[in-house]
C-alpha cells in the first residue's frame, strides 16, 4: 500500500474515480457516476484484503503476491492483466481456495474462501482445459451436476443447453482427445457454467481459441454473465479482450506481484452489459480504453507519469 504506484487505487470501493476519469469523453452520457461498480452492502462477490502469497521453494522463497487489495462487486466483471508470472493465477487460486494466502484475508460473498468453495459459490475454468479424458464431452460437462446429485433427466437437459451455447452440440459423444485445443477449452467453459454460479473464475479461458471463436465466445460470456448476473474474475493477456469484457481492468506488475493500477472501463452501470455489442470494438472510446490499459501496463507509475498518467485515469 505504501509503494506509491497506485496501490491505494487498487481498492475498488473508491467513489472518487469517476471524477478523475473525466477526459474520457468518448463515452458520452454514460460517464458520470458510472465508473464505480454497484456496491450496496452485502453484495460483494470477492473481497481480498492485504493478501500476500509467498511460495517456499528449495531455492528460497518467491513472493508471488504482495499487499493485494481488491473488491469485486456482485455481478461485476473484473479482468486481471499483467506480464507472465505476476501472480494472476495465484490470486485466482486464492479466491478459489486452492491455496491459502500467507497473509491477509480472502472472502467470497461474505464467507471465507473455504466456505464459499464448500458451498459451490463459484465455477472455475483453468488455464488448461482439464477435461477427464475417459469421459465424453457431455459427461465432462455433466460432472459437477453428477457430483452434486442432479437427477439424470435434468442433467442431460442442462448439458444439451450448455453444449449448444458453446457450439459443441454435435460433439457431445466425442472424447476430449478427439477435439482441438480450442474445443476442449469451450467444453471446460461450459462445465464451469453448469451450475449457474454467482461467481465465475476464469484463467485465460480463451487463450487457445482462434480470433473468430474468441470474439464469439467473448460476446457469449458477456451475455451469460449479464443473464445470470454472475460476477466474473477473468485472467487474460489480451488488452482488447479485457477492455471489451470488463467493468474494471486490474493491471498487475511482477516480482513481487502487485496491483499497479485498476482501470475502470467507460461503460456505465445500467448499460454495462447491454452496451457491449460488436460495434463497441470499432468505437473510438474502445481504443482509448485499450490505450489506457496499455499505458498502465507498460508505462511508468501513474503518479509520476505527468499529463499522460492523468489521461489514463
Amino acid at each position: 500500500m505504501t509503494d506509491g504506484d497506485g496501490g491505494l487505487r487498487s481498492d475498488a470501493g473508491g467513489g472518487s474515480r469517476p471524477a478523475s476519469r473525466n477526459p474520457d469523453a468518448a463515452a458520452a452520457g454514460i460517464r458520470d457516476g458510472a465508473g464505480a461498480p454497484p456496491q450496496p452492502a452485502g453484495t460483494t462477490a470477492v473481497e481480498v484484503r492485504g493478501v500476500d502469497k509467498i511460495f517456499e521453494t528449495t531455492s528460497g522463497h518467491v513472493q508471488a503476491l504482495d499487499a493485494i487489495d481488491l473488491t469485486v462487486a456482485a455481478g461485476e466483471f473484473v479482468s486481471l492483466i499483467g506480464p507472465s508470472g505476476c501472480g494472476k493465477s495465484t490470486l485466482m487460486r486464492l479466491i478459489a481456495d486452492l491455496d491459502a494466502p500467507s497473509a491477509g484475508t480472502v472472502s467470497v460473498f461474505g464467507k471465507t474462501a473455504k466456505q464459499a468453495r464448500l458451498d459451490q459459490e463459484y465455477g472455475i475454468a483453468f488455464q488448461s482445459a482439464g477435461l477427464l479424458p475417459w469421459r465424453t464431452v457431455a459427461a465432462n460437462v455433466a460432472l459437477p451436476l453428477e457430483l452434486h446429485g442432479v437427477a439424470s433427466a435434468a442433467r442431460s437437459g442442462r448439458v444439451a443447453e450448455l453444449l449448444d451455447m458453446v457450439g459443441l452440440s454435435d460433439f457431445a459423444d466425442r472424447y476430449p482427445d478427439q477435439l482441438s485445443g480450442g474445443m476442449q477449452q469451450r467444453v471446460a467453459i461450459a462445465r464451469s457454467l453448469a451450475e449457474q454460479p454467482r461467481l465465475l473464475l476464469m484463467d485465460e479461458p480463451f487463450g487457445a481459441l482462434d480470433e473468430m471463436t474468441r470474439e464469439k465466445m467473448q460476446a457469449e460470456l458477456v451475455r451469460i454473465a449479464a443473464e445470470t448476473g454472475a460476477a466474473v474474475v477473468f485472467v487474460t493477456h489480451s488488452i482488447p479482450e479485457a477492455v471489451f469484457l470488463s467493468d474494471r481492468v486490474v493491471v498487475m506488475s511482477p516480482r513481487p506481484g502487485r496491483i499497479r493500477e485498476i482501470v475502470p472501463m467507460r461503460l456505465g452501470v445500467d448499460t454495462r452489459r447491454a452496451a457491449r455489442t460488436e460495434e463497441l470494438r470499432e468505437e473510438r472510446g474502445f481504443f482509448e480504453m485499450v490505450t489506457a490499459v496499455r499505458e498502465a501496463l507498460h508505462g511508468e507509475t501513474p503518479v509520476t507519469a505527468g499529463p499522460r498518467g492523468v489521461e489514463t485515469r
Binding site: 478459489a96 482439464g130 479424458p133 460432472l143 482427445d177
Partner: protein
C-alpha cells in the same frame, strides 16, 4: 501390367478421400485399421509358432545326437527322440488316449480338464490378489504414512519364497476349521497363487491411484467432492491404464504360482500334478510329457487373454487428454 496399376490407383485414392472428412467415416476407417492390425497380430503369432516348430525340427535334424557340450556343460539339448520328440509326434500324441485302458480319455481332454481345474484355482487366487492388492493400494494412497510403513514390507514379502513353503502352508491350512468351513487343499494352492498375484497389482494400483493430474484433483476440490466421490469419479478411472498391465502380470503370476504350488503340495487334479506324473513316464512315452507343458502354456495365454478382454471393455479409460 501398367494398365492394371493405373486402374487400381484411382479407385483407392477415391475411397480414401471419401472416407477422410466425415466424422463417422473416419471412425469407421480407424476401426477397420484396428481390425486389420488385430488380424496382423494373429498372423504374426501363427508365424511365430511355425518358426519355432521349424527351428525345433531343424535342430533335431542337424544337431548332434548328444547335444552341444562346452567345457563339460551341455548348452544345447540332445536331439534324440527321447529328449526332443518330433513336433508331429507331440501333437499326434494329444489325440491319442492317455493310457491303454479302453475307457481312457484322449490326452488333450485330460490335459484340458486339468488345465481348467488349475485355471479355476488360479482365478480364485487372482481374485484374492486383486482384492488384497487394491485394498493395500487404497490404504497407501489415502495415508502417506501407510505407504512408508507398508511398501517396504510388500516388497520384502516377495523375497520370501512362499512356494518353497507350500507344504507348510498346506499343513497350516489343514488346521483351519471354522464352524462348517473346512480348509481345502486347493485353497492352499490358491493362497500361494494370490501371494504371487497381489504384488504387481498393489504396486500398479498405487501408482494408478496416485496418477491423476493436479489440475484434475483441484477440479474435484473446487466441486467440494470428498474422498469417495473423488475416488470413484477420478482416481479409479485414472488408475485403469496402470491397473490393466498389473492385473495381467498378476494373472500370469497366479497361474505360475498355482502350477508350482500344485506340484509342491502334490494336489491332485490340476495340471501341475500331471506335469510331474507324465514326466515320470517320459522314458516310455516321451511325447506324452509335452502334453501338460502345452496345456500350461495355453493356460497362461487364456489367463492373460481374459485380462486383455477386460482392457477392451475399459478401452475408454485408456485415453489421454491430448488431442490425437
Amino acid at each position: 501390367m501398367t494398365g492394371t496399376a493405373d486402374r487400381v490407383a484411382p479407385a483407392e485414392g477415391g475411397r480414401v478421400s471419401r472416407s477422410a472428412p466425415g466424422g463417422l467415416d473416419t471412425r469407421r476407417a480407424t476401426r477397420t485399421t484396428k481390425q486389420s492390425s488385430q488380424i496382423a497380430a494373429m498372423v504374426w503369432g501363427a508365424v511365430g509358432i511355425v518358426v519355432i516348430a521349424l527351428i525345433w525340427e531343424a535342430y533335431k535334424l542337424l544337431g548332434p545326437s548328444d547335444g552341444v557340450v562346452i567345457a563339460g556343460a551341455r548348452v544345447l539339448p540332445r536331439t534324440t527322440d527321447l529328449a526332443m520328440p518330433h513336433v508331429w509326434d507331440m501333437v499326434g500324441r494329444l489325440a491319442e488316449p492317455v493310457t491303454r485302458s479302453p475307457s481312457a480319455l484322449p490326452l488333450w481332454a485330460v490335459v484340458g480338464l486339468a488345465a481348467l481345474t488349475t485355471l479355476g484355482i488360479a482365478a480364485a487366487g487372482w481374485l484374492v490378489g486383486v482384492i488384497v492388492g487394491i485394498g493395500l493400494a487404497l490404504v497407501m494412497q489415502r495415508w502417506r504414512i501407510a505407504e512408508w510403513g507398508l511398501l517396504p514390507w510388500i516388497v520384502i514379502s516377495q523375497t520370501v519364497p512362499l512356494i518353497a513353503f507350500a507344504p507348510v502352508v498346506k499343513s497350516w491350512g489343514s488346521r483351519v476349521e471354522i464352524g462348517a468351513f473346512e480348509w481345502q487343499d486347493w485353497m492352499s494352492v490358491a493362497l500361494i497363487a494370490s501371494y504371487l498375484a497381489f504384488f504387481p497389482i498393489a504396486i500398479g494400483a498405487l501408482k494408478g491411484l496416485q496418477s491423476p493430474d493436479r489440475i484434475h484433483e483441484e477440479l474435484m476440490q473446487t466441486y467440494a467432492a470428498g474422498y469417495w466421490p473423488t475416488l470413484v469419479k477420478l482416481r479409479f478411472p485414472a488408475a485403469v491404464p496402470y491397473l490393466l498391465p498389473a492385473l495381467r502380470l498378476g494373472a500370469a503370476n497366479a497361474v505360475v504360482g498355482a502350477v508350482v504350488a500344485e506340484v509342491s503340495t502334490g494336489l491332485q487334479g490340476g495340471i501341475g500334478r500331471i506335469l510331474i506324473q507324465f514326466a515320470g513316464q517320459a522314458s516310455g512315452d516321451p511325447a506324452k510329457a509335452w502334453g501338460p507343458i502345452f496345456g500350461a502354456i495355453v493356460l497362461g495365454l487364456v489367463a492373460a487373454g481374459s485380462v486383455a478382454l477386460l482392457g477392451v471393455i475399459l478401452k475408454n479409460y485408456r485415453r489421454t487428454e491430448e488431442a490425437a
